[in-house]
Each structure stands twice: as structure tokens, then as C-alpha cells.
């Protein structure tokens, strides 16, 4: 075991870990859990679990529908959560829509764009058809790729993409050609869940706006890990998931510029999003109501409200600094292991804490199996971003991701585990 060095910017992890009951459990024959898979989903502090339970035990009712006291209390809690979550990203409460996950948020925009074809003239700017272009990148999570493929399929528009450099950055060489007057929307990840790369959203948005295109940033991996302010980000829409940022499963957020949401046709329709309903036809509420059909994810929104309170109390800049330190340390230590190749930027600048790597002559599944056996839980596979694997000519990767509750010692456990795998398979 390596002696843990003194590193700047680390949080008081011992105290934080007390809030996360799962982190004190053991796995596989009594090994302490080393959870390095927060990029897939994060663990939850008791504060979040308590907020949800308190809601169910004291205030549960259908929001925005009842006139009785429970319904009032539930509505208040739900809308107060919306206000705090909005503030967390510098947004107005009426500009955030609750979805079940980031995936639904992205689909909402993609479907609104095809629905614009049969909506009123106020939605004209969202219409897409043959000749129009939709632009993504080669590093997108399937959640920010497949919905756009399907939009193109429904409308006859053309899908194009930014390629990647060997270092795991976007290749912006063709920026001005790729974003042109045919481009209707640019959909790109703010932070890659595989490479860790943080993309220059503002710069790309500037070009997109210059040609009248919209820009959606997939913020599923950025909002949980660093301060994000929609007033300076440059994007017109962002989507993220609660479960990756200490919140419950089953809740996500779509933020959009007010004037865009205002003009957008609905996606999922039903109760609570209507203004007047006749059998023949209906009219719809202004946002965010227009996009929240049915009884919503009430307890989950309240849980996510508690999660952003928790993150704000720690401070998102401190969360980012902590992860930056862990990432730098992981890049350095993995770099020292012969036969290990990091896929993605090997410097901690403009990158977040997703560290993917290949171990020579050992398939990631086998690396993961050895790590799991040691209690080190990482993810292996294509991480829902298959085109990245194709781009770098690898079948899959092993990926470690960090959060505010991880330690340098856990990075050591990862590196030790990789060396163990090499010994086990006889490659080193």
C-alpha cells in the first residue's frame, strides 16, 4: 500500500462519508466497498432519504390539483424544491422542467422539434425537415445521440458530428463548416462520461447562435461535479439527472431559456399540463407546467431539492477541487503502471473526474472482475458511448469515476487492483 500524500483542495471526507450509509458496507467476502462508479449513479446522503420519507409520512398528496391542506403542503414543497434546484444552476424556477432523467429531457426537446411541424406558428423556429442539419459529437452518450438520430429519421433532417482528436478532445477544426446556416440544433456533452473532457460550450454556442441554431448541452456529468451557471454557459437547453448528484432515482431536469420553452409545443401530454380541454382539442399551460403531464415525481423532486442543499452547503467549487485533486492523482498513478493507457486527456485541465483506461492484453471485463473481487467497484464496457470505443479502436474500457466522498486511498486501491489483475492474468 502506498502512503497517501498531502494534496491540496481535498474535502473532509471522513465527515462526509458518515452521511452515506452504503459506504460503510462490505462486498464480496467482507471487503470494504470502494465505490468508484458515481458517474453511473451516485450514492445518497441520509439528508436526501430523510427528505423523501418526511414527505411521504407527513405531506403526501397530488400537487397542483387539490384544494386541501395536504395538497397545499405538497405543492409548496414541490415548488420550493424547484426554486432551489433552479437557483443551483442560476436559473429562474419557471425555466426548469422536471423529467424522469436526463434522457427524457433530451427527448423532450427532440420531440418538441418534430411536433413543431403540426403546432402553431409560434413554434416555427423549432421545425426541422429535409435539408436541415442536426449536429452532435463523436463523444456523446447514447442519450444525446440516439434521440437526434430518431429526430432525423422522423423529419428527414441530416445528422452530422464533430470528430475527436487523439487526445480525447473535440476536433473543432471544421467548426465553421459544421455549424452552418442549415444547422438547426447542436447537441453536445458538457463533460464526457467516458473521456472526462470538458467541452468549450460557450465558444460553440457563439457560432451556433451566429447562424441561428440552438444549442443543447448534456449536463448529466457537469452539473453534479462543478459549478454550472446557465447565465454564462451559453447553452439554450441543458439536461441532467438527479441520481448522479446525490438525489433519488427517477428525477431529472431540463432547463431551457424562457422564451424558447414558451414557444415550444408539448411532448408528453395529459393532465396538469392543459389550460382548457374539449373533446376535439385542447390548449396548454405556459412552461414549466406544459411539459409536466400527469402526477409528477413529487417525492423525488423534493429529494433532489435536499441534494442540491447538501451540495451547496459543501460548495460546488470545493466539490470540483476535491475531484480535480483525485483525478490528477489517479492520472499520475495510473500513468506509472506499465501497460495502462488512459483513454481521454491525460492532464487534469479541462477535464472532469471520469478516468477510462485500457490495460494491455486484459479485457476490461476481466479487469473489472478482479477489481470487484477486491471490493473496488468500477464500470466496464462502452459506457453508453459506443462511438468513442470505435474511434479509439478498443472494444471497451475500464472506467473509474469520483465524487465528493472518495479518497486518495481509494485511488490507491484502484491502482493496486489493476496491478493485481496484471499479475493474475500474467501480463506483468
Amino acid at each position: 500500500m502506498t502512503v497517501t500524500p498531502q494534496v491540496e483542495g481535498l474535502l473532509d471526507v471522513d465527515r462526509i462519508r458518515e452521511d452515506f450509509p452504503i459506504l460503510s458496507r462490505t462486498v464480496r467476502d467482507g471487503r470494504p466497498l470502494v465505490y468508484l462508479d458515481s458517474g453511473a449513479t451516485s450514492q445518497k446522503p441520509v439528508q436526501v432519504l430523510d427528505a423523501e420519507r418526511e414527505f411521504y409520512e407527513r405531506h403526501n398528496a397530488a400537487v397542483h390539483r387539490g384544494a386541501h391542506q395536504l395538497a397545499e403542503e405538497a405543492t409548496d414543497l414541490y415548488e420550493s424544491a424547484r426554486a432551489r434546484i433552479a437557483a443551483f444552476i442560476g436559473a429562474r424556477p419557471s425555466d426548469i422542467v422536471f423529467t424522469k432523467n436526463a434522457t427524457e429531457g433530451i427527448n423532450l426537446v427532440a420531440y418538441a422539434m418534430s411536433n413543431a411541424a403540426t403546432a402553431g406558428p409560434e413554434s416555427a423556429r423549432f421545425r426541422v425537415g429535409p435539408g436541415d442539419e442536426v449536429l452532435v459529437t463523436e463523444m456523446e452518450h447514447h442519450a444525446n445521440l440516439v434521440p437526434w438520430q430518431q429526430l432525423c429519421r422522423r423529419t428527414g433532417a441530416t445528422l452530422r458530428w464533430f470528430g475527436l482528436t487523439d487526445e480525447g478532445r473535440l476536433d473543432l477544426g471544421g467548426l465553421d463548416e459544421l455549424i452552418n446556416e442549415r444547422t438547426k440544433i447542436v447537441a453536445l456533452t458538457h463533460q464526457s462520461n467516458v473521456l472526462g473532457t470538458v467541452n468549450p460550450v460557450a465558444k460553440i454556442a457563439e457560432r451556433a447562435h451566429a447562424v441561428g441554431a440552438l444549442l443543447l448541452a448534456d449536463a448529466a456529468q457537469s452539473v453534479p461535479h462543478a459549478p454550472v451557471d446557465v447565465r454564462t454557459l451559453g447553452a439554450d437547453f441543458i439536461a441532467f439527472s438527479g441520481h448522479k448528484m446525490l438525489g433519488p432515482s427517477g428525477i431529472g431536469v431540463l432547463w431551457g431559456r424562457g422564451e424558447l420553452l414558451e414557444a415550444m409545443p408539448p411532448f408528453i401530454t395529459g393532465g396538469s399540463m392543459i389550460e382548457v380541454v374539449h373533446l376535439e382539442d385542447s390548449t396548454f399551460l405556459p412552461p414549466p407546467g406544459r411539459f409536466e403531464a400527469g402526477v409528477p415525481m413529487t417525492a423525488q423532486a423534493i429529494g433532489l431539492g435536499a441534494a442540491v442543499d447538501y451540495l451547496s452547503a459543501v460548495g460546488m467549487d470545493r466539490v470540483a477541487a476535491h475531484e480535480h485533486a483525485l483525478t490528477a492523482y489517479a492520472l499520475q498513478r495510473l500513468g506509472e503502471v506499465p501497460g495502462v493507457r488512459v483513454v481521454g486527456p491525460t492532464v487534469p485541465e479541462y477535464r472532469g473526474g471520469a478516468v477510462s483506461f485500457a490495460v494491455e492484453d486484459i479485457h476490461p471485463h476481466d479487469v473489472g472482475q478482479v477489481l470487484d473481487d477486491l471490493g473496488v467497484e468500477v464500470r466496464v464496457g462502452h459506457h453508453c458511448a459506443w462511438p468513442i470505443c470505435r474511434r479509439y479502436g478498443i472494444p471497451a474500457t475500464t472506467r473509474a469515476t469520483f465524487y465528493l466522498y472518495n479518497t486518495l486511498g481509494e485511488v490507491d486501491a484502484l491502482v493496486d487492483g489493476v496491478r493485481h489483475a496484471q499479475k493474475f492474468f500474467g501480463t506483468a
Binding site: 390539483r65 387539490g66 384544494a67 395538497a71 397545499e72 389550460e275 382548457v276 399551460l285
Partner: protein, 157 residues
């Protein structure tokens, strides 16, 4: 009878509800607005008749007429609105409207200006019931809407 209930359903409100003032749609009018409360289906159609539209805030409200379907609170509120606004200038009416909105958002803690709001102070108790605030505001929103339409039509003609 509960004290809370009495606090909400002041005699003044019940009186306006049972004997609404200025009810019914009247001609002539400059603009009309139809508003609906999507949660409960309450509806109001409201017309305004202004004198001197080109005088802006100094235009005088000659008439406000309405037809409404809804609960005691929304009905009484429409009735009180007509009492308060007919005969005032648009500028004065806006101040009244803002004061009423503020009272409704006060969560039962408001100190209403009796001189300005007159009978409308009776709605203070409603502000404790979020679901009913919309009922109380329905006709006020329709009035605002109709008034801005009246100005818009004037300026486009």
C-alpha cells in the same frame, strides 16, 4: 362554524357572492378577455369600456361588465372589482390591482390599505389558501388582460 372558515368567508364576501354588483355583459365595450382557472374550470368573461384611451393611464374606466362561473370567492372578487374600478382612471386602477395582488400573496400576513382596497380587504383570509388565491385573482387577471387589449387595439387602429 370554524373561526378559520369565518375568517375566509367574511360577511362582505358572502354578500357580494349572493348579490353580485354590475354582473352581466354589457355593450358598448372596448375589449373583452376570457380567463379560465385550469385547475378547477372556473371561468370569467370580462369587458372594459374606457373613455379617452389615448390618454393612457389617465383614461377613465367607464364600465366593467362580466359573466362568471365559479365559486363564491371568484364571484365575489369580480363583484368587488367592478365596485372598485368603475369610475377610476386606469392608473389608479392599476394601483388598486397591485395592492390586491400583494394582499393575495401575503399568506395571511398582509396589512391591507383599507382606503385603497375598501371591500377587497375582506379577501385577506383567502391569502392563506394557495388553491383559492387563483380564484380571487381570476377576474383581476382578466381585467388586466382586457385593459391591455383595449390599449393595443387603440394603438393599432
Amino acid at each position: 362554524m370554524q373561526p378559520q372558515l369565518e375568517a375566509m368567508y367574511q360577511e362582505i364576501i358572502l354578500d357580494h357572492y349572493k348579490n353580485p354588483h354590475h354582473k352581466g355583459l354589457r355593450d358598448p365595450y372596448d375589449a373583452e378577455a376570457h380567463h379560465v382557472n385550469p385547475t378547477c374550470g372556473d371561468e370569467v368573461t370580462l369587458r372594459v369600456r374606457l373613455a379617452g384611451v389615448d390618454a393612457g393611464d389617465d383614461a377613465k374606466i367607464e364600465d366593467v361588465s362580466y359573466d362568471a362561473m365559479g365559486c363564491s370567492i371568484s364571484q365575489a372578487s369580480a363583484s368587488v372589482l367592478t365596485d372598485l374600478l368603475i369610475g377610476r382612471t386606469v392608473g389608479e386602477a392599476q394601483r388598486v390591482s397591485e395592492a390586491f395582488l400583494a394582499l393575495m400573496q401575503s399568506k395571511g400576513e398582509g396589512e391591507p390599505d383599507e382606503d385603497l382596497l375598501e371591500d377587497a380587504v375582506a379577501f385577506a383570509g383567502v391569502s392563506k389558501y394557495p388553491a383559492r388565491i387563483k380564484c380571487a385573482l381570476l377576474s383581476w387577471m382578466a381585467w388586466k388582460d382586457a385593459t391591455s387589449r383595449a390599449f393595443a387595439e387603440e394603438s393599432s387602429s
